[in-house]
Amino acid sequence: MKRVIQWWTEERRAYLLLVLPAVAVYWAVMAFPTVFSFALSLTNYNGGPVFSNPNIKFVGFEHYLRMFRDQYFWISLKNNTLIILVSVFGQIPLGFLFAYVIHRKLVKFRGFFQTIIYLPCVISTIIVGRLWRSFFSPYGPFTEFMQKFQPGWENELFFDPKLAIVPVLFVILWMYTGTYMIIFLANLQKIDPALIEAARIDGATEWQVLTRIMLPSLSGVIVTASILAISGSLKSFDLLFAMTAGNPARRTSVLALYMYDTAFKHSPKYPLANAISVFMVMLSLVLILLVKLTEAKFGGRE
């Protein structure tokens, strides 16, 4: 009894009071659905009551095998990988570059450029998707523009399975680079200007300032941005849904769209959709772990 009283201190009560609501909400909306989804992916549950339903049977990893045998899964995974690559190796470096140029005052009209680059982020994704869909339409401005230079040019961008995803990648790069620019810009402002000034007085070049001071100082931010980019890329849905709906012939599909099509389009296949969502979570965790390991090995200190 005495030990219980000792454990139930005011500090611990305050701690629990502050932490438990967040833990409960996290468990209810994040952890539980993930675990539950994994459990359902091992059954044949396909709608209707979940509990005390005698028709639900354990089927093991059958749906995962089915998923791996489906060619559209691999197409979606490939497209997701490309989106991750564009996000991590396109949006983040570009975002950093723009932030650096603006922060170091290497251009005039910095406010203008900052606004222009960030603008796509504040427009609804669905509207952006629709706009670009019209732009890339065979009857749209892009086709007309190209035909000015090459009369009779046929807009077949989406018809080559290797190229179909390229317009989408371009839009993703255009749309989200501004987010990373803002993140980097905010963090660049935290670096003590005296440090840079001292380095310049000691004869450091701009390149040395960038590589020896700025980048090491921002390694933590780069990791955070990478995690955001990876998780954001894996859940890519709205832009693609509005722009191509994964078509033609599912060649621009991604895992989230593939899951949506499996779960909600035509006849629902919830167990398979659950398997896809679990795979997405696992993939996300593995990639984030890789980023953390990379940072631990090569990262500097802020």
Partner: protein, 438 residues
């Protein structure tokens, strides 16, 4: 003293006049509705006023809580509701297709007993059993999933006329290309469009419903020569230049403007597309203004070589509203839900839909003298149809027709051969059939 007693009597009367009607009044009944509704369609305002608002005026004791959704958002919500066992009381449904699970899982009631004597007001064909083997929704219309829309004025200007055979259509291709025009427009970025609006008609012509029913019973296969020949004919359309791969990059709504502005003399879609060209009462504008509507015609695809059904089109009884099976039989809620469904397919509403969208009424007592020329044309178009055949997504489950939907796009893009698509479809069918047999 007298004044005091008069005062009390007046108060008493006031109290009685407020309390008694309140206790005698019917308890309001709340009905939830999931409605498929395109708020951007020209007839949207009339629909809101003349259908939903009017119902609430006529039935003040029924409170309708309506959720309007359109295209995929609607289907997604329906499946989510069905999966969670939380279907609304009244739900917009197809006779099969993407509503198949509502029918086959018995999630909605058989409406035939509720319809009773009122069945005499409906065309007999629309009351036929649906995907679940019963009348799960009361259809508002008959629908042809295929129609060839023709810009006659454009054809005339080029010295061409509506082709009667496929060969005549192919012969037009060079002329149209020389004039910088497309041959046939389709908004087929979504994969259901080719299957529903074109390929089902081709299957009807070259394969026929009898063979499809044999496939459905497991007595024939998608890989049989008849079905493969239908896929081959579809592939041939690209080779002949009749279809262009652009259709798969064209949005379902984008095609309306393209056709109205003369980008091609032909467009293939369902007969419901007419509604998009009519006058919007809120703006008084139309994609095809009334004075130009006589320049357009609706007909069926020309004769296909080797067809076994001549002048056929694919069609189904149309959409309608069903009732949640969990509503207790004989309850006040059932009566209220049925009142709403009856109203939604009643003569006033069907007349309004005929005027705003050219929807062919499922009732025999609906007509109107306030319809635009394109609606008259839609009604006339049915005279061109000698035989109505099945729409593939109406008779097969999604699991089976999905490989066809995607496969048709793949054939068009050259990613798959007709035989490969037939084999994939058969494989999906075999898996579905084996499960069904268990």
């Amino acid at each position: 003293m007298l004044k005091k007693s008069v005062f009390f009597v007046l108060v008493l009367l006031l109290a009685v006049s407020v309390i008694v009607p309140a206790t005698l009044a019917e308890e309001p009944i709340k009905i939830t509705v999931l409605n498929y509704f395109d708020l951007t369609s020209p007839g949207a305002e009339r629909e809101l006023n003349e259908v939903w608002y009017e119902f609430s005026v006529r039935n003040p004791h029924i409170i309708v809580e309506r959720e309007d959704l359109f295209l995929d958002a609607f289907h997604q919500k329906t499946e989510a509701y069905a999966a969670a066992d939380m279907l609304p009381d009244v739900i917009y449904m197809w006779p099969g297709g993407r509503s198949t699970s509502l029918h086959t899982l018995g999630l909605v009631k058989d409406l035939r007993p509720l319809l009773g004597e009122d069945a005499k007001y409906y065309k007999e064909a629309v009351l036929a059993p649906q995907a679940g083997g019963y009348l799960a929704q009361l259809p508002s219309t008959m629908t042809s999933s295929h129609a060839l829309y023709v810009n006659v004025a454009l054809l005339d200007s080029l010295g061409l006329s509506i082709p009667e055979t496929y060969e005549e259509l192919v012969a037009m291709v060079p002329v149209l290309k020389e004039n910088g025009l497309d041959v046939i427009l389709m908004g087929a970025q979504d994969d259901w469009v080719i299957q529903s609006c074109l390929f089902s008609m081709i299957v009807g012509r070259l394969v026929g419903d009898e063979k499809l029913n044999e496939i459905l019973a497991g007595e024939a296969k998608f890989t049989d020569p008849e079905f493969v020949s239908a896929l081959e004919f579809y592939a041939q359309m690209y080779e002949d230049g009749v279809l262009n791969r652009r259709i798969m990059q064209t949005d379902y709504a984008e095609v309306n403007g393209l056709f109205a502005t003369g980008r091609a003399p032909f467009m293939i879609d369902g007969d419901w597309k007419v509604g998009n060209f009519l006058t919007d009462v809120t703006t008084g504008e139309a994609l095809i203004p009334v004075d130009r509507q006589h320049e357009f015609k609706m007909t069926i695809f020309p004769a296909i070589p080797g067809e076994i059904n001549k002048a056929s089109s694919s069609g189904v009884v149309g959409v309608g509203f069903g009732m949640n099976a969990k509503i207790e039989a004989g309850s006040a809620k059932e009566a209220a839900a049925w009142e709403l469904i009856k109203w939604l397919q009643g003569p006033e509403v069907q007349k309004m839909r005929l005027e705003t969208a050219g929807t062919i009424p499922s009732r025999i007592d609906v007509t109107s003298d306030n319809i635009e020329p394109l609606v008259v044309e839609r009604i006339r178009y049915y005279e061109d149809i000698a035989v109505t055949t099945e729409v593939l997504d109406n008779i097969f489950e999604g699991e089976v027709y999905t490989p066809i939907n995607i496969g048709l796009q793949e054939i068009g893009l050259g990613f798959a051969t007709p035989m490969e698509v037939a084999e994939r479809t058969q494989e999906a069918f075999d898996a579905w059939f084996a499960r069904k047999q268990q």
